[in-house]
Amino acid sequence: MNLHEYQGKSILKSYGVAIQEGIVADTAAEAVEAAKKLNEQTGTEWFVVKAQIHAGGRGKGVVTETGSHGVVLAKGLDKVEGCAAGILGGHLVTAQTNEKGKKVNKVLIAQDVYYPGESEPDEFYMSVLLNRESGKNIIMYSTEGGMDIETVAEETPHLIFKEEIDPRAGIQGFQCRKIAFNLGLSGQAFKQMSKFVKSLYEAYVGCDASMFEINPVLKTSDNKIIAVDSKVSLDENALYRHPDYAEMRDKTEEDPMDVEAGEAGLNFVNLDGNIGCMVNGAGLAMATMDIIKFSGGEPANFLDVGGTADAERVEKAFNLILKDPAVEGILVNIFGGIVRCDRVANGIVQAYKSIGNVPVPIIVRLQGTNAVEAKKVIDESGLNVHSAITLQEAADKVKEIVS
C-alpha cells in the first residue's frame, strides 16, 4: 500500500527520523493557515507547496489546468495562497503518471530547508528495501541525491552503495557509521547521519514497510540531516498489526474498478485491452492474459477469482469486466482442482441470466474436476457462451472473436 509524502513523513517522525516539517491542507485558505502555523513552529519565512499524489517527478511535473509545477516555492506568506490555488484541484502530469495526470486533493505546506548558512547544503539518496535473493533488507544509498536513481544507476553505478542488514541482529552502529563515511560526511553532519540511518531502518522494520525511498536526504547549511521527501510503501499482509496505518489508504489514488474488486474479495487489475478474463489462481491468470495476446487480442484486465468461484463471485466478476466499454469478449479459464467445474458452470449460467443482456461473447474453459459435466451445462444453456476444454481450444476461440 502506497502512502502520500505527508503520511510517510508522519510515520518517519514517530520513529525519530528528522524530517522537513510541514502541514497538510485541503484548500488554499487552509494552506495559508498552515503556513502561519509552520512559521510559528519553525520560524521559516519561505514555504514549499507540494502536491500530494502517488507519483514521483512532481517538481518537474505540470498542472494541466494552470501550468503550475507540482512543487513550488512560495517566497513569503503572501505568496502561499496563490501557489496552493495553482495546484489544488488540478491534474498533475509527471513522468510517472499517464497523460491525464492525477488529481491533486491535498498540498503539503513545508518549511524551506535550503536556507544559506555556514556550509553548502548537500543532497543524498537513500532507500530501504528487501533484497529478494538473500531474503535480507538492504539500505541503498548514494551521494547523488535529488536525481532519478535509475539514471544514477545507469550513468554512475559506482556512486551507489548497498548495506545489507542481519534480520535478527538489526542494524548495527558500524553500519550506520560506514554509510555516513561513504557519503563523505564529518563532524556534526556525520553524527546526525548515523542517527538518521539508524532510526530510518528501525522505522522500516517497525512499520512493516515494503519500501522506503528518501530522495533527497538533505544536509542543511547548519549540518542537520533531514528527509525532504518520503516515498513509503507498506506490506499489506502486515496491516493487521497497524490499524492506524491501514486507515491511511487513499482510495482516490487507486483505480475505482480495482477498489470495487478489492471490496468484493476479487484480485483485479484494470488494463487497456479488448478481451476480459476471469481465472482462478494468479499464475494461471497471467498465463491466460498471455494466451489472449498470442491469439491476437489484448487483455482488458487481470482477475483472480480465487478458490471459490461461486455464482455470486462470478456475477460480480462479470459485472466488473463489463463496465469497461472496450471489452469485446470474455475468456473464463478455471482449472477445477478442489473446486468442481460443474458448480462453476452453473454459477456462470446463473450469473449470466441474472445480468440479463451480456453484450459480448463469453468463452468458458473449464478443466479438472467434473469438466465434462461442466461442458454439458454450458452447451445446453442456450446462452451466447462457448465452451472449451483444452487451453488451445480456448485460444482458438479467442482468435475467432478478435478477427
Partner: protein, 292 residues
C-alpha cells in the same frame, strides 16, 4: 527413490483441526499419504480424522516419528509454526499459508538457515509425488505416475502442466510448488537440482512468473550442470510494469525482471521455452522423443 516426499514419509499437519487443515488433510489421507497425526495447540490428546492430535510438533516427532509437516495455520501465526517445525527436527516443511508478512519471513529464513530442514513455500500448492504422497492442496486425480518432474511458482498453472503431461501419456515423478512470495524456502534452482539428481525423473518442466531472478539463476545452473531436458514457461508477458499481479513477488521491476528478458536468458541456457502455456505437454513429448 523420489524427491522430498514419498510413501514412507511420516506426515503431520499443523493447523490440523482448522477448516483448511481438516479438508486438505482428509484429501491427503484419501490419496494414500501416510499422515501420522496433526498439531493444534490446546487440543492435544484428541483424535481427528482417526489420527492423534498433539499440542506441539516436538511431541508429534517423539511419538510418531514425524519427518514431514504441512502448515495450514493463519498468516499471523505461520512464521512461528515454521520455526516450531524446524526446531523439532522436521526435515521437510511445506507451508501453504498465504499472506505472511515479509518481515516475519526474513526472520524465519535466518532461523532455519542452520537447521537440517528444507522449507517449501510459503504461499504454495505443496509437493506431490505421484502415486505415493500428496503433501499439499493439488488435486490428486490429475496426476499419474511417470517420469516428468515439475517446478512451479504458481498453483493452478502447475495443475495445468500436470494435466497436460498426463494427457500426452507421460505422467509425473514429483511436482514441487515453490510459491510466489518475495521470500521462499526453496528456490527454483534448488528444486531443479533435486529433480536433476532424481533417477526417477527424465525431464523437468519449470514454470515461472515475472519478478525476481529465480528462473535466471536456475537457467545458469542448468546450462553448467544440467543432464536432463528442461521445458519452461514464464507467465506475465502482458503484465504492465510496477503492478502487483496477485502474487506479491510478481511485480515487474527492472528490465531483466520481465517475462521477455527471462525467456531470452533461459533460451541462451539451452532450455526449451514455450511462449504459450498450452504447449507445455506437447513440447516435453517432442523434446524427449528427440533425445531418446
Amino acid at each position: 527413490m523420489s524427491v522430498l516426499v514419498d510413501k514412507n514419509s511420516r506426515v503431520i499437519v499443523q493447523g490440523f483441526t482448522g477448516g483448511e487443515g481438516t479438508f486438505h488433510a482428509g484429501q491427503m489421507i484419501e490419496y494414500g499419504t501416510n499422515v501420522v497425526g496433526g498439531v493444534t495447540p490446546g487440543k492435544g490428546g484428541q483424535n481427528h480424522l482417526d489420527r492423534p492430535v498433539f499440542n506441539t510438533v516436538e511431541e508429534a516427532v517423539k511419538e510418531k516419528g514425524a519427518d514431514v509437516s504441512i502448515i495450514f495455520v493463519p498468516p499471523a501465526f505461520a512464521a512461528d509454526a515454521i520455526m516450531e517445525a524446524a526446531s523439532a527436527g522436521i526435515k521437510v516443511i511445506v507451508c501453504i499459508t498465504e499472506g505472511i508478512p515479509v518481515r516475519d519471513m526474513t526472520v524465519v529464513k535466518e532461523f532455519i538457515a542452520d537447521k537440517d530442514c528444507t522449507l517449501i513455500g510459503p504461499n504454495c500448492p505443496g509437493v506431490m509425488t505421484a502415486g505415493e504422497a500428496k503433501v499439499g492442496i493439488m488435486p490428486g486425480f490429475i496426476f499419474q505416475k511417470g517420469r516428468i518432474g515439475i517446478v512451479s511458482k504458481s498453483g493452478t498453472l502447475t495443475y495445468e502442466a500436470v494435466d497436460q503431461i498426463s494427457k500426452v501419456g507421460m505422467g509425473q515423478s514429483t511436482a514441487i510448488g515453490i510459491g510466489g512470495d518475495p521470500i521462499i524456502g526453496t528456490t527454483t534452482k534448488e528444486a531443479v537440482q533435486l529433480l536433476m539428481a532424481d533417477d526417477e525423473t527424465d525431464g523437468i518442466i519449470m514454470i515461472g512468473e515475472i519478478g525476481g531472478n529465480l528462473e535466471a539463476d536456475a537457467g545458469k545452473w542448468i546450462k553448467e550442470h544440467g543432464t536432463k531436458p528442461v521445458v519452461a514457461f514464464i507467465a506475465g508477458e502482458t503484465a504492465p510494469k510496477g503492478r502487483t499481479m496477485g502474487h506479491a513477488g510478481a511485480i515487474v521491476g527492472g528490465e531483466a525482471d520481465t517475462a521477455a528478458a527471462k525467456k531470452a536468458i533461459l533460451r541462451e541456457c539451452g532450455i526449451h521455452v514455450v511462449d504459450s502455456p498450452a504447449e507445455l505437454g506437447q513440447k516435453m513429448q517432442e523434446v524427449l522423443s528427440v533425445s531418446a
